[in-house]
């Protein structure tokens, strides 16, 4: 038996089923996508090879680049608004002495709700005449804002809703990292006369940088594939103002039957996502030093 296990072909035999499944469910669909991306397939008639025609079309397609820009808004909002807020809330909750479990549960709650429920809930809050926000602003004499119907406001409205949905999940991650920091470090700083803010800024935040890096990474990945909240709240409207790459691709492929073009767009989305995450890894994540307590 031992001699059998020394035979490298036996190990190959063991991994064959896994490789087979991986090929069937990952490699093969990817290769198939690349193939269809090079055709004018309409989903109904046989596909015809058109070379890089779909990619050329995508580069000239202004609407696609608007949707790419909208995804970038999601990334920028996540990194520059959502992540700082996540850190602030995590620091606040970690400092709470009583009902910490209650706060943790409360902030986590939105991330276990279905996107449809969140979308509809926030649609009510954004409602121009009976919505919470306009009622509140109305007390100060502000004219009703058409949050989801005005191209100027729709994107921001969705960004806020999306942030509300996912912040809790990341807060719990960051909170776990904060609570894992040995108390002695903060206590020593306190004895040395560091204020609460100084301890948070100089000690806690640097120590949780690795997890913040993961949160940023996940936020970027999440922002690249966002689509459900958009479909529920605005369906890409008003007038395409909230169209994101995924919704644009689905529309092109399914609604207009341009499966070849849709597949080419999906490859481009994959490439953009890969590029951004690689850039982030190279520029920031790799520079992080390992934290040793």
């Amino acid at each position: 038996m031992n001699k059998t296990l020394r035979n490298p072909y036996v190990y190959l035999l063991f991994v064959l089923p896994t490789i087979g499944l991986y090929f069937l469910f990952f490699i093969y669909p990817v290769l198939q996508s690349v193939f269809y991306g090079l055709t004018d397939w309409d989903g109904l008639t046989p596909a015809k090879y058109i070379g890089l025609g779909n990619f050329e079309k995508a580069f000239k397609d202004d609407d696609f680049w608007i949707s790419v820009k909208n995804n970038m808004y999601f990334i920028l909002f996540s990194v520059f608004v959502q992540v700082p807020l996540i850190i602030c809330f995590s620091l606040l909750i970690s400092g709470v002495k009583r009902f910490q479990g209650f706060y943790k549960t409360t902030v986590f709650l939105p991330s276990i709700l279905s996107t449809s429920i969140i979308g509809i809930l926030w649609q009510f809050m954004y409602h121009p005449s009976i919505g919470l926000f306009n009622k509140f602003l109305g007390w100060f004499g502000v004219e009703p804002i058409y949050w989801l119907a005005d191209p100027k406001w729709a994107m921001l409205s969705i960004l806020i809703t999306n942030a509300w949905q996912w912040m809790g999940f990341y807060i719990v991650l960051v909170l776990a990292a904060i609570l894992a920091i040995p108390k002695e470090i903060n206590e020593a700083a306190e004895i040395d006369g560091a204020t609460g803010f100084q301890r948070a800024y100089r000690i806690t935040t640097p120590l949780i940088m690795p997890i913040i890096s993961v949160v940023i990474m996940l936020s970027i990945a999440g922002a690249m594939r966002v689509v459900d909240i958009v479909l529920v709240m605005t369906k890409g409207g008003p007038a395409g103002a909230t169209e994101v790459m995924a919704s644009y691709m689905v529309n092109k492929a399914i609604k207009y039957g341009q499966y070849g073009y849709g597949t080419a767009l999906s490859i481009m989305i994959f490439a953009i996502a890969l590029l951004l995450t690689a850039l982030y890894q190279i520029a920031f994540a790799r520079r992080q030093e390992r934290v040793e307590y």
Partner: protein, 465 residues
């Protein structure tokens, strides 16, 4: 020797495991494309069936996708339920599996995806025209209904099913017809001393009066662009003539003609003047109807299928007896017949080409029962759906005052015009929808909107050549 044996045994075990997982029962995997010779091959056999009881009939399912969802559609759903019941009684073993889906989701997402995957329901709601019905028919996804219509003797009973015809074969049947025009709240008009408008100037004066009084002149929900498209389609016909849709579709007319641009400009002017519901781009079709029902708007541009909403027992019963209808008034200087009305027979049922004999029998019974004079007349009386078949005029009487106004308006029309979406390819329709929303959002001028649509039309026409 021993290790070799172990290696061989391991290999055999693994390979057999893989092969057994990959293998399948050929009988199970048999496609249902070919007509099954007997009911015993139907999709869901009855457990009680035994070989010694030849009279026993096995149950088989027939999937039926419809769009009669919600309170607004309840009259048509009732008719469909009756037809299904009758058909099930006529075809032993048939069980219609109803699948209700919202119209635009079925039309633009679910059905196209199913067509591409090759698994559409056996019976489904279908729109005709090159973007949908004709495209699926050309890809052999739809059942050729010509022999069934011949057998049932109803081929000549339809007034027009041309948008479902490809190479002389019929692939779909319109369930009814509809006209699109102005509904008005007579209470609001009376309270503001407004007469029912006869000209476009009078109509615009009415809008101005209502706006001045703080009442929304036109209830509009443009979140889905097909809703404002109804009004723009009619405006374009008024300005550019009733043959504009067919002309643009065959390339003999252009969207860039000054008359078409003028129609877009008129719509844009109404948007700028604030005649439509505020925040219309965030309001859906139901929201638009609800705004009119709530008495918050003076006018509503909609199809005649909306008439039953204002029945005594309809969802808009608050407005029962208070709603009137008129066709789009003439435009001074407009091209062509200014009495023409919009008339569409583009929505109905299509059937999958992938059916066996049992399913075909069920489909035949469904067509026989649904496309009858009885249900055409009931659809007209109960739901305000104009008939798509030739029905004895004596049966087409209505106590409904709105319907009487529709009939009078249509009778006075010199000709009819269709909707663009029944004649132009899908990408052109998509560009129309995009540009309409851009026009409303102030992101496109009338000239640019018309120009962009024409560009897509040109490329589609070039591709056809």
């Amino acid at each position: 020797m021993k290790k070799k044996l172990i290696t061989v045994l391991t290999t055999v075990t693994m390979l057999s495991a893989i092969l057994s997982a990959c293998g399948g029962n050929k009988n199970e995997a048999a496609p249902s494309t070919s007509p099954s010779p007997s009911p015993s091959e139907s999709s869901s056999p009855s457990p009680s069936d035994t070989p010694s009881s030849p009279a026993a009939v096995e149950r088989f399912d027939v999937s039926l996708r419809h769009i009669q969802v919600g309170e607004l559609q309840r009259f048509r759903k009732a008719i469909l339920d009756e037809v299904v019941k009758k058909s099930e009684a006529e075809v032993p073993g048939a069980k219609f599996e109803m699948d209700a889906i919202e119209d635009s989701f079925n039309r633009w997402t679910k059905l196209p995806a199913e067509m591409a995957a090759g698994n559409p329901p056996k019976i489904f709601d279908l729109f005709g025209g090159p973007a949908e019905g004709q495209k699926y028919a050309r890809a052999n996804k739809l059942l050729d209904l010509t022999p069934i219509l011949d057998e049932l003797g109803i081929k000549d009973k339809f007034t027009d099913y041309s948008t479902f015809v490809v190479d002389g074969k019929v692939y779909g049947l319109p369930i009814g017809a509809g006209s699109e025009g102005w509904f008005y709240n007579s209470d609001i008009l009376k309270a503001n001393n407004i007469e029912v408008p006869k000209t476009l100037d009078e109509l615009e004066a009415a809008f101005e009066t209502l706006k001045g009084k703080g009442i929304t002149p036109i209830a509009m929900g443009s979140q889905a662009a097909w809703v404002p498209f109804m009004l723009i389609n009619t405006l374009i016909s008024r300005y550019a003539g009733p043959d504009i849709q067919a002309g643009v579709a065959d390339g003999s007319r252009k969207m860039t003609e000054p008359e078409v641009v003028a129609a877009f400009a008129k719509y844009g002017e109404w948007v700028k003047k604030g005649y439509f519901t505020k925040g219309e781009l965030g309001i859906d079709y139901t929201g638009q109807t609800n705004e009119f029902i709530a008495g918050k708007a003076g006018f509503l541009f909609d199809g005649t299928w909306r008439i039953s909403t204002f029945n005594e027992d309809g969802t808009g019963k608050a407005l029962h007896g208070k709603v009137g209808y008129f066709a789009m008034p003439a435009v001074s200087g407009g091209k062509g017949d200014q009495t023409a009305v919009n008339y569409n027979q583009n929505n109905g049922y299509g059937f999958s080409s992938d059916v066996n004999d049992n399913e075909k029998a069920a489909i035949k019974a469904f067509i026989k029962n649904l496309y009858s004079e009885e249900y055409q007349a009931r659809g007209f009386k109960e739901d305000g759906v104009l008939p798509s078949m030739k029905v004895d005029p004596a049966k087409l009487t209505s106590d409904n005052p709105i319907m009487s106004e529709v009939l009078a308006s249509n009778a006075a029309a010199g000709t009819v015009f269709p909707h663009f979406d029944s004649l132009v390819p899908g990408p052109v329709n998509g560009e129309f929808e995009k540009q309409i929303q851009n026009l409303i959002a102030g992101k496109a001028s009338p000239e640019k909107a018309a120009d962009e649509i024409q560009k897509v039309m040109d490329s589609e026409l070039a591709a056809l050549k």
